[in-house]
């Protein structure tokens, strides 16, 4: 797990954070780098019965059983295909019961960018869209809008219980 450079002065101002960006459809999303465990290619998953439609199943991540969430289904993307270039971003979040890992299927990973805290704008009211609840803010980098997600809120209520401070801790 890579950590952002922890320059004490920068940290004190809360100025910069590193964000992994990925695309789903036409939209670029970003998540905080510290919670990213690994990025892996698509492998078939084992289906979980009676699970929500966007939970594809579980896969074996070096001996641990990790659920895989299709972020494209969750955000209502129309074009959902599983090809060898489909990517799973494995993230780790803190929950009340300890760290939890899960995989997120996205169309492709783009970049790692630095975002200054003052560049993050609150998201406008998006109503009840599934994605709206997980958005931490919006930022514009090089003329491109990035939707910053709070991964703690992606996998349902239990993982959100620990609160958004978990991903800022690093």
């Amino acid at each position: 797990m890579t950590r952002p450079s922890t320059d004490p002065t920068a940290a004190a101002q809360g100025a910069m954070s590193q964000v992994l960006t990925f695309v789903i459809g036409d939209v670029t999303y970003g998540i905080d780098i510290p919670c990213v465990q690994e990025i892996r290619g698509w492998t078939a998953v084992t289906r979980l019965p009676q699970s929500p439609a966007d939970i594809l199943g579980v896969l074996n991540l070096r001996g641990a059983i990790v659920p895989v969430l299709d972020l494209r289904l969750k955000f209502g993307s129309s074009n959902v295909q599983y090809t060898p270039v489909t990517v799973i971003v494995v993230v780790s979040v803190m929950s009340a019961t300890g760290p939890r890992e899960f995989g997120m299927v996205v169309d492709g990973v783009s970049d790692v960018i630095d975002i200054a805290a003052q560049d993050v704008k609150p998201a406008p009211d998006l109503g009840n869209a599934a994605s709206a609840a997980c958005i931490r803010g919006l930022a514009t980098i090089g003329g491109r809008m990035v939707v910053l997600l709070d991964v703690n809120l992606l996998l349902g209520k239990e993982s959100a219980a620990a609160g958004p401070e978990a991903d800022r801790a690093a």
Partner: protein, 686 residues
């Protein structure tokens, strides 16, 4: 040099708890009519080593309480107080109080001082009673702290009221301080026994520049006027006498302050000396010697270390499965050698796995040992005579299973005493032995553990059960039930034993809780009962929770694992064997029963390869007290799989117990058969 004593606390607590267990079991075995001295010595040793440890670590309350207890035990040992059932009760209560004190101290919680003081007072009372009036007077006059039990205790032991002046020379060895001995503590304890004067000899002190700070250069002369017996005084030095030279001289006098000092006897004590009572000789080594069963060079290891080892072995099992799968897919020169090597690896791995699993195995006596006490207490409270027979207590099972099986067993045994065993009058009227018998037995059967709890009481009253079940709407008014089916009813939720049985406490625990606990452990429970002859509960449990013997089945493109313990047999049905009853539910005849069919692909929402029943297979499984046929595409084989939690990263899924990793690295789900049957029937009902 300071030693951080807290690092030894855990060991002290562990050893003390074990010692208390052995004290309790010895007490329960003690025949109050003709007590054997070895048992009393064992109990004495336990109290003594706890006292010693507690004093070393500065747990004052425990030291004080064990001191009183020890005094009482010393009286018993000297046959000055006879062992009666009342004394036995007192000692058992002391075990409880000590256990609570230790637990509280360990958790850094306050000790229930009132409870301790009450019991200590009772103990004191017994001791004082035996001393009689003659001893009481000088005792009160003499001891500086009459309320202090140590004084009361010591005073009564040998020659009450006879004052002796002791001249004690204490010449410590150079390592005296390094061993953590504090002479002031010894002096303080002595001062409790009587009038003490201490003179320190400083003549051996070297000049400052030559002094080693950790070394002891001092020696002391003590003068103690006390009516305490010699053994009580010597005992205070017990923890130090290996490190120092100790000289005792006694001069007897009837005067409070002796005028003439006559050296009567000089005894030099090198290490554990001869005149000590037999029981004292073994004391400096606490538990190891008091329970000879467990002294064969064992070490204490943290459970997490063992679990880590088991996890690694689990990974190894998976890696091996991968290797052998790969080796089957390749050909060419050298593959024969590779396969042989993999087979060799498998043998070694199985061996390793078994050994590692055995590390986690503990004898079930750890659980069984609490029952003699419970049966005794409960029998007394309900005024029933109950004998407990325990067999197979050396049977070993996984520590986790062991920890979780205790409560269900307590419920079972409690129910047996409460509702199973009849009152003495009823038993006498039916020509039974007045004392009821509860038999607990544990044994290995194949890859599982069987625990039986049986009683020779009244048995289950089928008519009452049916009546109750009808009233509660659990069975239809005209359902014709076999005896087995009726007996199964007691495991249904909402079927409280408190309501079906008439007499006594009515504080029954729902048998459904027992069944759920057992099935949470991957086990099952059955009951057999005969009216008037008693009941037998049979619990079958897997040996371990880390690995399960499973049958892998294919449904569509998925592989599922069925725990072998839940499966009965698999069969291919011909269309004529299956009857479709109302709402499209399918049943088939199996042995003497009609079993419903659960089509797994439907339950899991998959696309199967076989839709017609005769194209696939039906696996008869058992869970939640019911049998059903699971319809699957195919059987893939039987294998041991490592259990991986789904809940670490996800959560509970209905009908799924856990997951595992197959030889090709993919994940397969392990079915939770009882849960599956329950959810399937709920879904059909909906």
């Amino acid at each position: 040099m300071t030693i951080d004593l807290t690092q030894f606390h855990d060991a002290f607590f562990d050893e003390s708890f074990e010692a208390l267990d052995s004290m309790e079991s010895t007490l329960l075995k003690l025949d109050t009519g003709s007590p054997d001295s070895e048992s009393i010595n064992t109990i004495f040793r336990v109290a003594h080593s706890i006292k010693g440890g507690a004093a070393t670590f500065g747990f004052g309350e425990i030291t004080s309480f064990t001191h009183s207890l020890e005094t009482l035990l010393d009286e018993l040992r000297g046959n000055r107080i006879a062992i009666s059932p009342q004394i036995c009760d007192l000692l058992l209560k002391s075990v409880d109080v000590l256990r609570a004190m230790l637990a509280a101290t360990k958790a850094k919680q306050p000790i229930d001082a009132q409870g301790v003081a009450d019991l200590q007072f009772d103990i004191e009372l017994v001791i004082v009673h035996r001393e009689g009036a003659s001893a009481a007077a000088p005792l009160a006059a003499n001891s500086s702290a009459a309320s202090d039990l140590a004084a009361v205790a010591a005073a009564g032991a040998e020659q009450p009221g006879r004052l002796v002046e002791w001249q004690i020379d204490l010449r410590p060895g150079p390592q005296f301080f390094e061993r953590g001995t504090d002479p002031v503590r010894i002096f303080r304890e002595l001062a409790v026994l009587g009038n003490l004067m201490v003179t320190a000899h400083l003549d051996a002190l070297p000049p400052c520049q030559d002094m080693e700070p950790g070394r002891c250069y001092l020696s002391w002369s003590l003068s103690l006027v006390s009516d305490a017996p010699e053994a009580a005084i010597r005992e205070i030095f017990e923890w130090v006498n290996a490190d120092c030279e100790l000289t005792f001289r006694a001069s007897q006098s009837s005067l409070p302050m002796p005028a003439v000092r006559v050296p009567a006897a000089v005894v030099t004590l090198p290490a554990p000396a001869a005149p000590l009572p037999a029981g004292d000789a073994a004391q400096p080594v606490p538990v190891a010697q008091s329970s000879s069963a467990m002294d064969s060079g064992s070490i204490r290891v943290g459970v997490e270390k063992i679990d880590e080892l088991i996890n690694t072995v689990g990974e190894l099992v998976i890696t091996h499965a991968m290797l052998s799968q790969i080796s089957r897919g390749i050909s060419g020169p050298g593959t024969e050698g590779l396969r042989t090597a993999i087979q060799q690896l498998e043998r070694n791995m199985r061996q390793l796995q078994e050994s590692v699993m055995r590390v986690r195995m503990l004898p079930i006596s750890a659980v069984f040992s609490r029952f003699p006490r419970m049966v005794r207490d409960l029998g007394q409270r309900l005024e029933k005579q109950v004998d407990l027979k325990i067999t197979g207590e050396t049977t070993e099972l996984d520590k986790t299973v062991l920890e979780k099986i205790g409560d269900p067993l307590v419920h079972l045994v409690r129910n047996c005493i409460d509702h199973g065993i009849e009152s003495a009058a009823v038993r006498a009227a039916t020509g039974k032995n007045i004392a009821g018998t509860i038999h607990m037995n544990a044994s290995h059967r194949g890859g599982s553990i069987c625990i039986e709890v049986s009683d020779d009481g009244g048995g289950l009253d089928c008519e009452r059960i049916v009546a109750k079940a009808r009233a509660a709407g659990l069975v239809g008014a005209d359902d014709n039930l076999s005896r087995e089916e009726i007996q199964e009813l007691i495991f249904l939720p909402g079927f409280s034993t408190a309501e079906i049985t008439t007499d006594v406490s009515g504080r029954g625990v729902g048998m459904d809780v027992v069944r759920r606990n057992v099935s949470d452990l991957g086990g099952k429970i059955e009951v057999q009962s005969e009216r008037g002859r008693g009941s037998q509960f049979l619990i079958t449990l897997p040996l371990t929770l880390a690995i399960v013997d499973g049958l892998s089945v294919a449904v569509g493109d998925q592989t599922y694992i069925l725990p072998m313990m839940s499966t009965i047999e698999s069969l291919r049905l011909s269309p004529t064997q299956v009857t479709t009853i109302a709402d499209g539910r399918e049943v088939f005849a199996f042995r003497d029963d009609y079993l419903p069919i659960i089509r797994l692909y439907r339950f899991f929402g998959l696309t199967p390869r076989a839709r017609a029943l005769h194209d696939g297979l039906v696996v008869v499984v058992e869970g939640a007290g019911r049998r059903v046929g699971l319809f699957v595409d195919d059987l893939l084989g039987q294998q041991q799989v490592v259990i991986k939690s789904l809940e670490t990263n996800y959560g509970h899924v209905a009908g799924i117990a856990a997951a595992t990793i197959l030889g090709d690295g993919s994940v397969a789900l392990i079915l939770d058969v009882p849960d599956l049957i329950r959810s399937a029937s709920r879904r059909e009902a909906a």
